[in-house]
Symmetry: C2
Subunit: 229 residues, 2 copies
Amino acid sequence: MKSDFREVREELRQRILQGVWAPGDLVPNEVDLAAEFGCARATVNRAMRELAEAGLIERKRKAGTRVRLSPRRAARFDIPIVREEIEARGAAYRYALISRDEIAPPDWLAARMALAPGDLVLHLTCLHHADGQPYQHEERWISLAALPQARDGDFTATGPNEWLVREVPFSDAEISFSAIAADDQLARRMGCATGDALFLVERATWWEGRAITFVRLAHQRGHRMTTRY
Amino acid sequence: MKSDFREVREELRQRILQGVWAPGDLVPNEVDLAAEFGCARATVNRAMRELAEAGLIERKRKAGTRVRLSPRRAARFDIPIVREEIEARGAAYRYALISRDEIAPPDWLAARMALAPGDLVLHLTCLHHADGQPYQHEERWISLAALPQARDGDFTATGPNEWLVREVPFSDAEISFSAIAADDQLARRMGCATGDALFLVERATWWEGRAITFVRLAHQRGHRMTTRY
DNA sequence: AAGTGGTCTAGACCACATT
DNA sequence: ATGTGGTCTAGACCACTTA
């Protein structure tokens, strides 16, 4: 009757999914379950901790553990580095810098990155190709207040992403996915028609409360981001 | 010098982010770190397990623990129930069934859901409104081989999602995000222009290796899915 | 006040990958 | 063969929340 924590976890998961314990129900406490499974309380604790993290149950001291009314469904996406993503498909990766300038941030960007008045940003646009075809269009802004050394960065051979990974850590990021229509410029660069639907990833990155960089990544038509859970 | 696992975890995280241990470096083993932090090995283990799960380090028995060359970046998205998503915005939710029929699955669907030849599917289309405006267009296929009781389901008042949540568990799901252009029909239903870029979520759901349902959720123009990590 | 989960400990054994 | 992480155990104490 000895069980390891995976067996306990899966057995508990089954009971929840098959309705032995219905949504809202109180689940037996750790001591009782440990006795039932013939294992230590720590083992049950680990199993239940993972189920809680997966959103199946809710735990409160003294109040006990309950099956969530509607299981929270969360999916985890790996955010790929574009070079690795392309090479993983067996395609040849090529990078090109399109433009580079130092500008005062537009209002929306200053707001989004919480920049102080007068802060400048380095504005870069580049293209990532797979087997010679445009794959991803990157438009990036880097806070020169937070990262003055970006002025000396060479972004002609490798993308700002790889430079940033080497240069700075980040502690916090906000990412969002959406769909946009390609404007004329983007269509020309991506080799698609104006108005084509493109998959857009935006990411803002912070280090100790300070905005580092904001990037908009527009992907080729038909691009999908997939995960299992 | 006693430390709890959070303190250990954060101290190790700092050392990695600040380059004390550079990417590729070997990190001291658990016994040594436990001695350094004045805690039990299990405490170090928990701290490092969480860092590994966060993608900062890689662990192998005998080989030890190394700082990842480029930290894996993963983001977690909550997959909302559309009714809750709309109500959370303080908007009124309304649901409407557009069509319902029983069909032989198109080839792409049979392949995607691994259906047997001859299997039929229930095909539903519906609209979810927020404050009277089209918010999400749902096109759903339910395997009648796996879920014959779907024939008797009433989807006129509540969406198939809520029916499925009550009726069947799932063990496994694949979700993908992309961008599509609205065709004439979709544009008419969503109240947008033909060709507008829409954010699309597709999800296939399985139970014990058997395909249950596949759904395509097209969202209103400008919809974003956001998370922090 | 009391019951529950959260965590730590010290020790043990095992599984695995490298040597 | 050996060193490392992976896990379990039995017991303990603490923290939080409800009654």
